[in-house]
């Protein structure tokens, strides 16, 4: 029993010493190469893998799972202790998305394996002045830890969430996995919404399968793009093309609005004219002829038939005829009623 404990204790010490050595090496590398910006780290590769890593430039998120020799921009040997390094001084000044992959012995060096324990790649964000330290002591190649680099740490957290979604899909019923996937995708959208690194935000959205959500949640993606409108990057330009634009009064829509306004105006005008005609029909004064109106105006002023005939320079009998017509049109029987007729 004592022997077992001793053996266990020695193994733990050895492991502990190895970890210390790895960290020490990584930090020492970092300190001695302060002016030499690079992606470096330590990785554990078992016998199925070639001892070489490849760095590929991912120019668009739709190419994350595309493998082409033309995408490979650098390679690094993995030394006997498991250390590797890529120079970054030839990379663009702006942050870009990159992929590091390893190939299996006997297969093409340009190979991508997605899913399963043999997944052979991981993503990172880097630029010309990046100093990125990577550590992987797991047997699974893509289970890496980023040291010191904040944006890649978040990237790694995003990958952890996606792994959780995948494992739920594998172990749970459809209803449960849908429920959990929705919750985790919402978490990814929250990271995208709050993260201060634009490219990391976009990475989170791409990992949340935004294509399935965009129809029902368009406002979120439009707001996201508004927030990132100052970011001048091809990645965002390509993403923007996938998000429906906000509805503006332009093109076809403006014609529709213009036609609606004209139709409304015409309707209003027609309605006003019809109402006026109706009002005229209901008001008997409007039915009087011009001469009858002149007679009625003087009659209302209290003038006699003779005075009206003199003023209008017409015969008294003509005045009498007009007055009779006026009585008839106004449906009155006396001069008094005609005078008091409401206008």
């Amino acid at each position: 029993m004592k022997q077992t404990n001793l053996f266990f204790s020695i193994n733990v010490k050895r492991y502990f010493l190895l970890i210390i050595l790895i960290y020490f090496n990584i930090y020492t590398h970092g300190q001695t190469s302060n002016n030499n910006t690079q992606i470096e780290g330590h990785i554990k590769l078992d016998s199925i893998w070639n001892k070489k890593l490849y760095l590929s430039h991912i120019s668009d998120f739709s190419k994350m799972y595309t493998m082409s020799r033309s995408m490979i921009i650098a390679e690094s040997k993995v030394d006997s202790l498991g250390f590797f390094k890529f120079r970054t001084d030839f990379l663009p000044i702006e942050n870009n998305l990159y992929r590091i992959h390893v190939s299996k012995k006997g297969s093409s060096e340009a190979s991508i394996i997605i899913g399963g324990k043999d997944e052979n790649h991981f993503f990172l964000i880097a630029n010309k002045s990046s100093e990125i330290k990577i550590l992987n002591d797991s047997k699974i190649f893509n289970n890496v830890t980023f040291i010191r680099d904040e944006k890649n740490k978040i990237l790694s957290e995003i990958d952890d969430i996606v792994r959780l979604i995948d494992s739920t899909n594998f172990n749970s019923t459809k209803i449960k996995s849908d429920f959990v996937s929705n919750a985790f995708n919402e978490q990814l959208r929250q990271i995208a919404d709050t993260c201060s690194y634009p490219l990391v935000s976009l990475y989170a959205l791409h990992k949340s399968k935004f294509e399935q959500d965009i129809k029902n949640n368009t406002q979120f993606y439009q707001d996201f793009l508004d927030k990132q409108q100052n970011v001048n990057s091809v990645y965002f330009q390509n993403f923007k093309n996938k998000v429906p634009a906000r509805k503006t009064l332009s093109g076809k829509n403006s014609y529709i609005v213009l036609i609606s306004f004209i139709a409304f105006g015409l309707g209003f005008l027609l309605n006003t004219l019809l109402n006026r005609k109706k009002r005229e029909k209901n008001n008997p004064i409007k039915t009087l002829s011009i001469q009858e109106r002149k007679v009625y105006r003087l009659l209302k002023a209290g003038k006699s038939n003779k005075e009206i005939s003199e003023e209008l320079n017409i015969g008294v009998s003509t005045v009498k005829s007009h007055v009779s017509n006026i009585y008839s049109k106004l449906s009155v029987k006396s001069r008094k009623e005609a005078i008091n007729f409401p206008l």
Binding site: K63, Y65, T66, M67, S68, R69, S70, G106, S107, S108, A110, S111, I112, I113, I114, G115, G116, D118, N169, F170, N171, S172, T173, K174, S177, K209, E211, Q212
Partner: protein
């Protein structure tokens, strides 16, 4: 007594193994396609008609020339996985002929493993979209019932 215990444990082990085998049945389908300078999109459908506990896809594509995109769709039409391989090289044999099934170690390869627990009933589709591509693709699906 020892013999009795041995026999009992043997019987129990056998019973357990047989019952496990009886409970789960695995269906495996495999398609192996070679293509030469092809741009013809092909769809391979896996129809899940009854409740299945597990559906696994293993797709391996090696391309010597041209581009190939492989996409997996669930019965609702949602993309559940994809990869693309592009090869711009054109390597010929000594007589100038490109051998279809020669070793494609120099080409480009893509592989996807996708496992779904209790997959949605209906037609799962693997879409194979080559563009002037030469190579081969192997599509294997496992259904565990």
């Amino acid at each position: 007594m020892k013999l009795f215990k041995f026999i009992m444990s043997l019987i129990l082990t056998l019973t357990f193994s047989l019952s496990t085998l009886a409970q789960s049945t695995e269906f495996k389908t495999s398609r192996n396609l070679g293509f030469k300078d092809s741009s013809k999109t092909q769809e391979i459908t896996i129809n899940i008609k009854e409740k299945t506990s597990n559906l696994t896809f293993e797709i391996l594509c090696k391309v010597k020339e041209g581009n190939v995109t492989v996409e997996i769709y669930d019965p609702s039409g949602h993309k559940q996985g994809e990869f693309a391989v592009e090869s711009i090289e054109s390597q010929s044999d000594s007589d100038g002929e490109v051998s279809l099934f020669s070793a494609i170690a120099d080409g480009v390869s893509g592989e996807i493993k996708k496992a779904v627990y209790e997959p949605e009933l209906g037609k799962w589709v693997v879409k194979f979209i080559p563009k002037k591509a030469t190579g081969r693709i192997q599509i294997i699906s496992y259904q565990l019932q």
